[in-house]
């Protein structure tokens, strides 16, 4: 068994390992610009406006490219869209239910939701604030540039593969999260919203 008995050899091997690890981190990873950066602000059945990130969001997302927009689709309540592209920071991609639960929301119902590029997840969430219940709905999916899916474990595996291969096997996954604001009585018709925003599930 190797006993690390020669200090010079041990020092060299460890320092080369550390140097290689730092190089792997700092060299360009081969991931192009975010696929979501040119999402249109207006369409025939929707309009969007950019929403600035909060300080906590900036810290959480690190260097990841993030699109945060308020969307109004014809005949639908307002929706908040957050797209996090993990190309520059894989760790920014989380299971959104982890963050929503952490923010005090309880999941009361969830189901898979077929979308043009694959499968999304629909969730209904409840929160008790100042003695009153508030309910919102959210839809999210991960996209690896070829397919949309709702498994955070798969997005994690895709992220690792993309990073190990320096993005030769494909881009890092992105998370697309949309949720209602709970300020209107009406629940969103997600199928109608997704039909109005075809560019979103085809990236």
């Amino acid at each position: 068994m190797w006993s690390f008995s020669k200090p010079a050899v041990t020092w060299t091997m460890v320092l080369v390992g550390i140097f290689a690890a730092i190089l792997w981190d700092v060299l360009p990873s081969g991931n192009g610009p975010s696929r979501f950066r040119d999402l249109p602000l207006h369409g025939t059945r929707f309009r969007m406006r950019n929403v600035p990130l909060t300080e906590t969001e900036k810290a959480t997302f690190g260097g990841a490219e993030v699109v945060k927009r308020l969307i109004r689709c014809e005949g639908q309540p307002a929706i908040l869209l957050t797209v996090v592209d993990g190309g520059k920071n894989n760790h920014a991609i989380h299971d959104p239910t982890y963050c929503l639960r952490g923010a005090g929301w309880t999941i009361v119902a969830e189901n898979p939701l077929p979308i043009p590029g694959g499968t999304a997840r629909w969730v209904r969430l409840k929160q008790r604030l100042a003695g009153a219940d508030r309910e919102i709905e959210a839809v999210y999916w991960f996209s690896n540039g070829r397919q949309c899916y709702d498994s955070s474990l798969r997005s994690w595996a895709d992220g690792v593969l993309a990073r190990v291969s320096r993005h030769r096997v494909g881009p890092s996954p992105a998370l697309v999260l949309m949720h209602s604001l709970g300020q209107e009585e009406q629940y969103p018709d997600w199928e109608a919203i997704l039909r109005s925003l075809p560019a979103l599930s085809r990236r």
């Binding site: 068994m1 190797w2 006993s3 690390f4 008995s5 200090p7 041990t10 020092w11 460890v14 320092l15 390992g17 550390i18 290689a20 690890a21 730092i22 792997w24 981190d25 906590t56 810290a59 959480t60 894989n90 760790h91 299971d95 239910t97 982890y98 639960r101 952490g102 923010a103 992220g159 690792v160 990073r163 190990v164």
Partner: protein, 161 residues
């Protein structure tokens, strides 16, 4: 036999650098609200064992080697968990519980301050989960320190005699 002491310090510094996202998680993630306390409690046996100059049965070379692999693999894969495991292993090189049982339980206890536990148990209320983690780590550390004390006792008695 393991790495030279100066190299261990270099590796500990590298482990801290690789684990830098941990500070962010401790500050901002609701499920990690008490994890800093859990981490500090988990480190107590390291300090106690170091102070008492305990030797563990675990092979130092293997621990050092696994730590290096984890820390380098963290950069390649982007998996923070590997960096946290590397950090725990490097900290254990400065002192750790003696006895296989205590060492095994204390090593598993390291996962309690890592965000993977919060992620895996995110169906539990964040505050309750935080207290559970702190309580468990406190018990593990207390047990590890007690084990250290009882195993050292004959030596201490021998010295006084």
């Amino acid at each position: 036999m393991g790495f030279p002491p100066a190299l261990r310090l270099v590796l500990l510094a590298f482990a801290v650098y690789q684990s830098r996202d941990l500070a962010l998680a401790w500050r901002d993630a609701p499920y990690e609200r008490f994890s800093l306390i859990a981490f500090l409690l988990w480190v107590v046996p390291v300090i106690v064992a170091r102070w008492r100059k305990e030797r563990s049965e675990a092979s130092d070379s293997v621990v050092d080697g696994i730590a290096v692999v984890c820390l380098v693999a963290k950069s390649v894969t982007g998996l923070n968990l590997l960096a946290y495991i590397g950090l725990a292993l490097m900290l254990s090189r400065f002192g750790r519980p003696t006895g296989r049982g205590a060492l095994f339980v204390w090593s598993l206890g390291a996962f309690l301050w890592m965000p993977v536990t919060g992620w895996g148990l995110s169906t539990v209320d964040p505050a309750l989960l935080g207290w559970m983690r702190v309580t468990l780590v406190a018990l593990i550390s207390l047990g590890s320190c007690t084990a250290l004390r009882s195993e050292s006792m004959p030596l201490a008695e021998g010295r006084s005699a």
